[in-house]
Amino acid sequence: MLSRSIARHRLMAELVGFLPLIIFLALLTYVGLNAPNFMTLFNLKLVLMQSLPVVLLVTGLSAVVMAGGDDVVSGGIDLSIPATAVLCAGITAVLLASGLSLFVASLAALAAALAAGAVNAVLITRLRMTPLLTTLAMFVALVGINNMVTSRRRINLTDGHIGLLREDFVFGIPLGIVIVALVVLVAYHLLHRTRWGLNLQAAGGSRDAAEISGLKVDRLVAQSYLLAAFMGFLTGFFVLARGNGYSPGVENNLMLEMVLANFLGAAFSPRRVVTMWGAVLGAVLVAAISIGLKTIGVNVFWTDLVKGALILVVVALSAISQRVQ
């Protein structure tokens, strides 16, 4: 009798646990039914292309959350990655426009990204500053530096190579998608299949336990911020490719979409933790919803409202399902 009630309880919990995903799929189905063009291969490609920068960002962010723990305020979080990405895009665009080669421009961007990551790492692991606060402040500083570098102008892409990310195809699949898929696979291998990745997750799971078992937690956390900055560097190229050059002001939207995708991903995962696959799925779904709402003719002014409501519904459901369990 008792066991049956436990079983029923668990079934309930699981059902509530799947609700976030069910709601999302229902929303997409609704869009699909109302806009027959939405469920086409062409549109799927569009959705994936649109999601690429955010996919790269959340891959970096999930590494940071894994290493630092998933408490939003005191745990690991890096809100500065979108600013790093935009700074890299700005530096690359300015240097390309001044006639330097893509290689030199990329090196300069990489140096800037790693410097930003290193400052984050030092402030968080040495000074013990709250990651949320540190990376939020870094976001402001990096955007400021980028505005100085680019003088807030639109800079058109002069180099053909970056445009290939959008225009070139490998076996009929856009090159950008192929590259991001490879990057995500490598990151997955690194974070989930290597000793380093497991140590990283151990550090985030329980800092004390990890330290007792001899892990250098601070070093792992610092490395996660450097990895995140590197992902920001990669994102820079996709920002350039997507906009066919640098335009000021893309960072705010990127940050919001990154955070949204990351926490949607956590709500999708069975144990409510931030995982890389969850985050990537979150990023793609956020792009799908944005494009989907546009296709069925929802006024642009409403999209933020829908996204905000989605965050709340999904996160509330995951909080409820945790309580039910």
Partner: protein, 324 residues
């Protein structure tokens, strides 16, 4: 305290106690040397006047951070305060005082939503207020058809004097900020209620065990913080005689920075009103000083960002040295 620091060298003692204030003073000296106008009475009043709205927002933020949370929707509360007040006067012809009250109630709506999400649904404050931020921004876009301002040129003089009036030469926005700061100081630092808030922010489970009604406090704090931010909206609306959608967002990061600088200045590292005031004034001094240096807009932007990071790092480093 004296016995703890007895063995340390004098310079360390000085840095630990006054490090941030010394740097603050150095900034003032530097700006004054660059442009003597900086230390003139009129300019100092400009700094204080220019910091009034940030001050008000930072007060609300201090309260929320003291409970152990964070509020990303303070800017929305400011926007709602301005929008409700302007619309009440312009479209419904309501008396300016009634309109001001409606504005504050409009801001409090944002807090009610946050409180319902955080207390009722137990969503973490970061995510709940992020959701509120999204929804609030969208509501403003829908209402203004994409973000166009709502101007109200024939604003009653009394309402306009919320920003432009003065009492014995002190600008009224400064008076509003000071009165609110005094109320917050009393509530957070001198009342039983404030002690409960701090207890809850520092160790929530202990506070629950001690019988503190955590949920009720959280609820009131979110509503009070948002209602406070709406005052900032009233001043902004009175100042420019219009409601500009999404203008509150600009204050978010500075408010967070001021609160955390203030917390780092506190002996026990907790958010506190005098510290927040110091943080706000520091940010005001930097903004004003950089303006007077006549730098290019973009350069100024970059410098103030870098100074923000450095100031936070310094404040936290000082706190760490004090602890060790």
């Amino acid at each position: 305290m004296a016995s703890e620091t007895a063995g340390t060298p004098l310079w360390r003692d000085i840095v630990v106690r006054f490090g941030f204030l010394i740097v603050f003073a150095l900034f003032v000296v530097f700006f004054a040397a660059w442009n003597p106008v900086f230390v003139q009475g009129q300019n100092l009043m400009n700094i204080i006047e220019g910091s009034a709205i940030l001050m008000i927002i930072a007060l609300g933020m201090t309260l929320i951070v003291a409970t152990g949370g964070i509020d990303l929707s303070v800017g929305i509360a400011l926007d709602f305060g301005a929008a409700f007040a302007i619309v009440a006067m312009k479209s419904f012809g309501i008396h300016w005082f009634g309109a001001a009250c409606i504005g504050i109630a409009g801001g409090a709506l944002v807090g009610l939503l946050n409180a319902a999400l955080v207390v009722g649904l137990r969503i973490s404050p970061f995510l709940a207020t992020l959701g509120t931020f999204f929804i609030g921004s969208s509501v403003q876009r829908i209402f203004t058809n994409g973000g166009g301002p709502i101007s109200y040129r024939q604003m009653p003089d009394e309402f306009r004097s919320l920003a432009l009036g003065d009492v014995f030469g002190v600008p009224s926005e400064v008076i509003i900020a000071l009165v609110l700061a005094a109320i917050y100081f009393f509530v957070l630092e001198r009342s039983v209620w404030g002690r409960r808030i701090h207890a809850m922010g520092m160790q929530r489970s202990a506070a629950v065990v001690a019988g503190i009604k955590v949920n009720r406090i959280l609820f009131l704090c979110f509503v009070m913080a948002s209602a406070t931010c709406a005052f900032g909206g009233l001043i902004a609306a009175a100042n420019i005689r219009m409601f500009t959608p999404l203008s509150g967002f600009a204050y978010l990061l500075d408010a967070i920075a001021a609160v955390f600088i203030g917390a780092a200045l506190h002996p026990r590292g907790r958010p506190n009103i005098p510290g927040t005031v110091a943080g706000v004034l520091f940010l005001g001094v930097v903004t004003n000083g950089l303006n007077l240096m006549g730098l290019n807009f973009n350069t100024k932007d970059a410098l103030s960002g870098i100074i923000l990071v450095a100031a936070l790092a310094l404040a936290v480093a000082q706190r760490n040295m004090r602890k060790s």
